[in-house]
C-alpha cells in the first residue's frame, strides 16, 4: 500500500495548457500516473500529450470519473480553481501554485473541510508513491519503491532527503507546502503513515516558522509506534526574515529551529543534522 495516491488514482490537470502544466503532465504520464483529463477554460477540444482538455472541472469529472486534481493555474486564479474542483466532486486536490493569497487558501480549505475534501498545498511539490503514481513535480531519479514515508514542508530538500533513504526506498513522499496556511499538515500525514502497513519508518522534514512541527511531535509521542526521524532546516536563519517560503519566518522569537529540534527530541524523534546520515540511522533502527 501507500498513502493518498496509488495505481487507482485518476487525475485531472487544472491549467494543463500552461507551460508548467503541460511539462509536468508529460512527466507524470511518463511515470505511469493515470492522467485522464485536463482543464483550461476556453480550450475545450484541444489535446495535451494525448489527453483531452475540458472547459471546466465538472465537465472533465463527468466525462472521465476523475477523483484527484493537480493545480498549475496562476496564483490569482488559484482560489477559484480550488473551489471549482471541490464543487465538481474531486476528493484530493494537490495545489502546486506558489504565491496564492493567504485568504484565498483559507476560504478554500474551510470549504474543503466542510465537504470532506483534502487539499495538499498550496506551494507544494505534491505527492509520489514510487512505482505507482506521481501527482506532483518531483524528479523521478530521487525516488524508488520501498518502505519509508517522507513528509516535508519543502521541495528540493524533500528530494535530497528521499534520495538519502538508500536501499530502503519510499512508500509515499508528500510535500505539504511552504505557505503559512496549508490544507494538509504533518499530523494528517503521520496518521496515514502510521496506518499504512507498507510504511516501516517516517521522516518529517520541517523548517522554521509556525508550530506545525511542535504539534507533530506531540502527536508522535501519543500515537505513533513506528520509528520517526526529523530534520529541521533554518538553524542559521536570521529572525523576522522570510526565508524564501512565505511560511518560513521566525516572528516575535517563535518558530525557531532550536524549539522545533527540542520538541522532536522530547518526543523521541531521532534528529538528523546532515541528510547523508539518514541511511545509517535507518539501518540502525529497521
Amino acid at each position: 500500500m501507500s498513502i493518498l495516491i496509488d495505481e487507482n488514482t485518476r487525475v485531472i490537470v487544472q491549467g494543463i495548457t500552461g507551460r508548467d502544466g503541460a511539462f509536468h503532465t508529460k512527466m507524470m504520464k511518463e511515470y505511469g500516473t493515470n492522467i485522464v483529463a485536463g482543464v483550461t477554460p476556453g480550450k475545450r477540444g484541444q489535446e495535451v500529450e494525448g489527453i483531452p482538455v475540458f472547459n471546466s472541472v465538472a465537465a472533465a469529472v463527468k466525462a472521465t470519473d476523475a477523483n484527484t486534481s493537480i493545480i498549475f493555474v496562476p496564483a490569482n486564479f488559484t482560489g477559484d480553481a480550488l473551489l471549482e474542483a471541490i464543487f465538481a466532486g474531486i476528493k484530493l486536490i494537490v495545489c502546486v501554485t506558489e504565491g496564492v493569497p493567504t485568504l484565498d487558501a483559507i476560504r478554500a480549505i474551510a470549504v474543503a473541510q466542510n465537504r470532506g475534501v483534502r487539499i495538499v498545498g498550496p506551494n507544494c511539490p505534491g505527492a509520489i508513491s514510487p512505482g505507482k503514481a506521481k501527482v506532483g513535480i518531483m524528479p523521478h531519479s530521487a525516488f524508488k519503491p520501498g518502505c519509508i514515508g517522507v513528509v516535508s514542508r519543502s521541495g528540493t530538500l524533500t528530494y535530497e532527503i528521499a534520495a538519502n533513504t538508500g536501499d530502503f526506498g519510499q512508500s509515499t513522499v508528500i510535500g505539504i507546502g511552504g505557505d503559512p496556511v496549508i490544507g494538509t499538515n504533518f499530523i494528517d500525514c503521520l496518521k496515514m503513515f502510521q496506518d499504512d502497513p507498507e510504511t516501516k519508518a517516517i521522516v518529517i522534514v520541517g523548517e522554521i516558522g509556525g508550530s506545525d512541527e511542535e504539534r507533530a511531535a506531540e502527536f508522535v509521542k501519543e500515537y505513533v509506534t513506528k520509528p520517526v526521524f526529523g530534520f529541521i532546516a533554518g538553524q542559521t536563519a536570521p529572525p523576522d526574515k522570510r526565508m524564501g517560503h512565505a511560511g518560513a519566518i521566525i516572528s516575535a522569537g517563535t518558530g525557531t529551529a532550536t524549539e522545533k529540534i527540542r520538541a522532536f527530541q522530547n518526543a523521541s524523534i531521532e534528529v538528523i543534522y546532515e541528510p547523508e546520515e539518514l541511511r545509517q540511522k535507518l539501518l540502525a533502527r529497521i
Binding site: 493567504t102 528530494y159 542559521t236
Partner: protein
C-alpha cells in the same frame, strides 16, 4: 509587507476608524507648521518600520511650540534598530483614561483569522502573552461567516462597563475586520486603542501588514512600500525572480529551493564555516538568472568561496552550468567555486563545465566541506 503608522492611519481614516488629528513631516519646518495648526502640546513620533520606538527615544511629547523644531531635529535622522528615521508624525495630545489592545491576524495552526483584544494595551502583545496571557481575549473568526456581531459584543462586555463603549468597540472591530479582508492583510493592530478622559475610543497607534501574495490585487498598497527599509541587493534579487537574504559569513551559496538553501546554510555552519547569504534561484531557472545570482553574491566583498548546490527538478542543471559559464565570461570570478549538481540534465552540465576551473563535488556534505575549506584558505 509592512507600512508606516501614518500610512496605516490614513487607511483607518478612510474606514472611519477614529484617529487623532495629525500629519506627517519630513523637516523641522514642516513639523512646526503642523504643530502650530494643531495647537500645543503635541506628540512627535518617529516613522520607522520596527517596534520599540518609544524605548529608542523616537516618541516625544512637546509642550511649547518653540521646542518643536529642536525635538523634531532630535528624532529625524536617528537610527532605530538599523533603520533611519526619515519622517515624523506630529499628533495632537490625547488625554488618556485607559489603554486597550485590539488586533486581527491569521492563526496558522487554526487556519483562520483571529481577533485578539486585551485591557492591558500599550505594551507589545507578545509581552502581554508572556506576562498576562489570561488578559488576552482570543476570538476565532469563521472565514466563511466573518466576524459576527455577538463575538465582538462578548469581548466588548468584558472590556467595558458602559454599553455605549461596547457599541463603539463593536463598530471599530467590525471596520477593522472589513479592512483586514478587503485589503488582504496579514495583520491589523490598534495598540493602544485609547479611552479618552472624555469617554471616546480612539486609535492612538496603527499597524497594518499586507499579504505579499495578494499585492497584485492592490497596486495602490504596493505604492506604499518604503524601499529605504530594504537591503538594495535584496530588492535587486527580487526583481530578477531570486530570493536573497544577506548574512555576515564568507561562504556564498546558490541553491534551488528554500528548504535546501536553508539546509545548505546550516551545514556550512555545522562544518565550521559561516554562510554569507540565503539564495534560492527558484524553480524555472534560466542561465541569466544564474548570472544575476552570482553577481549579487560577488558584490558582497566578504565572500571568499561560492557553493552551488542544485538538486535539479524543474531547475535544469545545464541551465545552471550555462549561467556559470556566462558569469565567468562577463566577470573574472576570483574566488573558488564549488559545484554540486544532481538531478535533471546533470550529465550535460558536467560536460559543459569540463574545461572550467570549478571544483566538483558529488554529495551535499562533500560540497559544503570543500567550500568551507576553500573560504578558510583564502583568509
Amino acid at each position: 509587507m509592512k507600512i508606516h503608522e501614518y500610512q496605516a492611519k490614513q487607511i483607518f481614516a478612510q474606514m472611519r476608524i477614529p484617529i487623532p488629528r495629525e500629519q506627517v513631516a519630513q523637516t523641522t519646518f514642516e513639523a512646526k507648521e503642523i504643530a502650530q495648526a494643531l495647537g500645543m502640546p503635541v506628540v512627535i513620533k518617529a516613522q520607522v518600520l520596527v517596534g520599540g520606538r518609544g524605548k529608542a527615544g523616537g516618541v516625544k511629547r512637546v509642550e511649547k511650540i518653540d521646542d518643536v523644531p529642536v525635538v523634531a531635529e532630535s528624532i529625524l535622522g536617528i537610527m532605530i534598530k538599523g533603520l533611519k528615521v526619515a519622517k515624523v508624525l506630529v499628533s495632537e495630545c490625547i488625554p488618556i483614561k485607559a489603554e486597550f489592545y485590539v488586533g486581527i491576524t491569521i492563526d496558522r495552526a487554526l487556519r483562520q483569522p483571529v481577533l485578539l483584544a486585551s485591557a492591558a494595551g500599550g505594551v507589545e502583545i507578545e509581552e502581554i502573552a508572556r506576562s498576562n496571557p489570561e488578559k488576552i481575549h482570543k476570538c476565532r473568526i469563521d472565514p466563511l461567516l466573518g466576524l459576527l456581531p455577538f463575538q465582538t459584543r462578548d469581548i466588548g462586555f468584558t472590556l467595558f462597563t458602559e454599553p455605549a463603549l461596547t457599541q463603539e468597540f463593536n463598530s471599530i472591530t467590525q471596520k477593522l475586520y472589513r479592512l483586514f479582508i478587503e485589503q488582504d492583510c496579514s495583520l491589523v493592530e490598534i495598540n493602544p486603542l485609547v479611552l479618552t478622559t472624555s469617554g471616546k475610543l480612539i486609535a492612538l497607534d496603527a499597524k497594518i501588514n499586507f499579504d505579499d501574495n495578494a499585492l497584485f490585487r492592490h497596486p495602490e498598497n504596493e505604492a506604499l512600500r518604503d524601499f529605504s527599509a530594504e537591503e538594495p541587493t535584496e530588492v535587486e534579487a527580487k526583481k530578477a525572480g531570486l530570493s536573497y537574504i544577506k548574512l555576515s559569513g564568507n561562504v556564498g551559496c546558490v541553491v534551488n529551493g528554500a528548504g535546501l538553501a536553508m539546509a545548505t546554510m546550516d551545514l556550512i555552519k555545522q562544518f565550521g564555516g559561516e554562510p554569507a547569504n540565503f539564495l534560492d534561484v527558484g524553480g524555472s531557472s534560466s542561465p541569466e538568472k544564474m548570472v544575476t545570482a552570482l553577481r549579487i553574491i560577488l558584490s558582497d566583498l566578504n565572500v571568499k568561496a561560492i557553493l552551488v548546490n542544485i538538486f535539479g527538478g524543474i531547475t535544469r542543471c545545464d541551465d545552471i552550468a550555462r549561467g556559470i559559464i556566462l558569469a565567468q565570461q562577463q566577470a573574472d570570478i576570483k574566488v573558488p567555486l564549488v559545484a554540486r549538481l544532481v538531478g535533471t540534465n546533470a550529465e550535460q552540465a558536467k560536460e559543459l563545465l569540463a574545461n572550467s576551473p570549478i571544483l566538483w563535488a558529488n554529495t551535499m556534505s562533500e560540497a559544503v566541506k570543500l567550500a568551507v575549506v576553500k573560504a578558510k584558505e583564502a583568509k
